[in-house]
Subunit: 410 residues, 2 copies
Amino acid sequence: MPGTNDRFDGKRVLADLNALRAIGAYRTGVHKPTFSEPHLRSLDWLAARLPEAELVAAIDGIGNVFGTSAKAGPKLLAGSHLESQNHAGWLDGPLGVIYALEAARVINPDPGIHGAVEVASWCDEEGHFGSFLGSRSYAGAVSEADIDAARDRSGDRTLRQALQDAGFAGRPRVTAEAGRHIGYLEAHIEQGDTLESSGLKVGIVTSIVGIWQYRITFTGAQNHAGTTRMAVRKDAGLALARFCVAIDDSFPALCGPRTVWTTGRITLDPGAPSVIPGSAEMLFQIRDDNPAVIERLEQQLRRMAAEVTAQGRSAVQVERIRTGVPATMTSAFQDAIEAASAACAGGKSIRMPSGAGHDAQVLATIMPAAMLFVPSIGGISHHWSENTDDADIVTGAEVFVETCRRLLAG
Amino acid sequence: MPGTNDRFDGKRVLADLNALRAIGAYRTGVHKPTFSEPHLRSLDWLAARLPEAELVAAIDGIGNVFGTSAKAGPKLLAGSHLESQNHAGWLDGPLGVIYALEAARVINPDPGIHGAVEVASWCDEEGHFGSFLGSRSYAGAVSEADIDAARDRSGDRTLRQALQDAGFAGRPRVTAEAGRHIGYLEAHIEQGDTLESSGLKVGIVTSIVGIWQYRITFTGAQNHAGTTRMAVRKDAGLALARFCVAIDDSFPALCGPRTVWTTGRITLDPGAPSVIPGSAEMLFQIRDDNPAVIERLEQQLRRMAAEVTAQGRSAVQVERIRTGVPATMTSAFQDAIEAASAACAGGKSIRMPSGAGHDAQVLATIMPAAMLFVPSIGGISHHWSENTDDADIVTGAEVFVETCRRLLAG
């Protein structure tokens, strides 16, 4: 539909993304943990931009930024997040926020378009304090008790303290107004290499995989690393290492075609070079969009844990600490993205599941929701060197704006 | 030699050890990291006791406590340490200090004995800030630059700051006076199960094993735990786990009869559940009294590292960060301990190497040195539940005092 996007401005999109990159810059990426100073400045930066799109800006009691429109007609909610993983990429989050802002800037002032795009920046998608805190708060799934209990990853700072320090304590938390939005649209970098390796420009997300997370603990016997003979040791760290290897050896025969699993953190206690670890812990994650696959893999974990425990050296406990909820993206919205890709990206799109979790999976529990991906160079993600070609960023933005237009047109 | 130990007081030994246990108590053990408040209080406690043994007390610029005698005749140096590992046992260190104090209390006031026992409490044997800082300072092996560079295990506190806070900054450090002592004697809990499992009461240490320490780093590629297919991952944490298992599988065929090896700490970077670790590090230690065995094992480490690196997923680097120096105990001193055991412990002694490092290995570089062990219940060490039967503590003390008497008699 050439000609309809006249006021779309790709240079403005790139300039905005670079402005956000300059706040909390780390090498070519950013370091903006949730409620860090650069994260808070990024929220303020967005709030100051929203009026350009005829939106009223507000930051609520969990740190969500909202741009609300008074325009008549249907309203589409769009956004993503502004905090980052530690020392991570500049586009993971900001891309979707700036695409939403650009769509609102193009669509909202246009009297020829019935309806508006409202913008949201969801707080803590990256999980420094919890799991999708901001979008889950909006969906009504976060209680005050949940907030009381939440701490940052180090355990040093409570969420209450962080909210207090940020100046958000005492503000109400905004929750979804039933029927206000026709749905939710989010753009994101792919974070994998599917688009790049196929020469495609747009990924149309069909579903978001669920994340199952486990705390696996090993209890042996702490002892002196010099005086305890190898034969009598109960080394919890060694038991953990063998468990990691056993997972990697046994899962391929049991998993689905797209299952992934990761041991992201290992802690040996007490963690001193001259002490045999008496206990050890690993954080283990599995992702898939098929709960039946997870069921098989979890059974394998528990079987292996029982076997190791029965051998008598280390007792292994498998505790599920997060249960995945795979989310299906709304089919009509997928069709709109595909049509917009045909119009603005030469049809270089593909339907694909998302291996990463996104706020869209939370929004999908309360309204129609969809996502589009742009290519990631080398598939690199959650690292400061994450990047996307400028031309691909602009193409993705154009497809996003066109998708919003089509969704509002119904 | 019954009758010669009349003034030896086993109850006093137990009472003193329990008094030290009450300072910084943790369950049935203690928590006294170097320069912590309970550690400093323990040093003051000892300094206050030394005059009972006709010793002049002083604490020097590295936190060593010395009890110096003005008595004529030969002088024997005896002692151990007062700080503990974190949440560790009550006897690891204090036992040797109180045995030395008791020997000095029995021998020094006795005009019938020519010579005296001088007492030392060496600072930081447990290595919170360095390696045998106190005894190495006394041996002249710690420079001011070493002190400038030292930090605690967390890296948060410099040794300079800790010395300042303790009130030791600016004091001179005492170094060994050539020819002052006929030698050094140290008692310690065995920290293993050799004595207990054989029904013996005294271990006569023949040598102290060396400790070789390695930092082994794995460099893969940090990426997103949901979007990166298993087939293309370069997971540094998994490479580390496989390396730990490979060590444990290959070392038994290459090691000596008493070699021990331990992975005490593992760190995955960035350590987040949703990020594939891009790098990982393990602290690895080997102990033996035979450098030729270590040479073989280190070659195996380097061979395995090269193999893994050649496979192209993770680059492995093996860096030796500590080189062991096995120490031989003075033969004539071993004979004196054996004779004292025959006199006071029904000859229930055995000659054995020490798998643990001790200040005696440092003192052995500047004077004749020896050690005696008492049994450890269940071989437990470096844990708060470490313990020794009261009767064994008293027997060991009696053997220790008798050994001092024999060494001074020449």
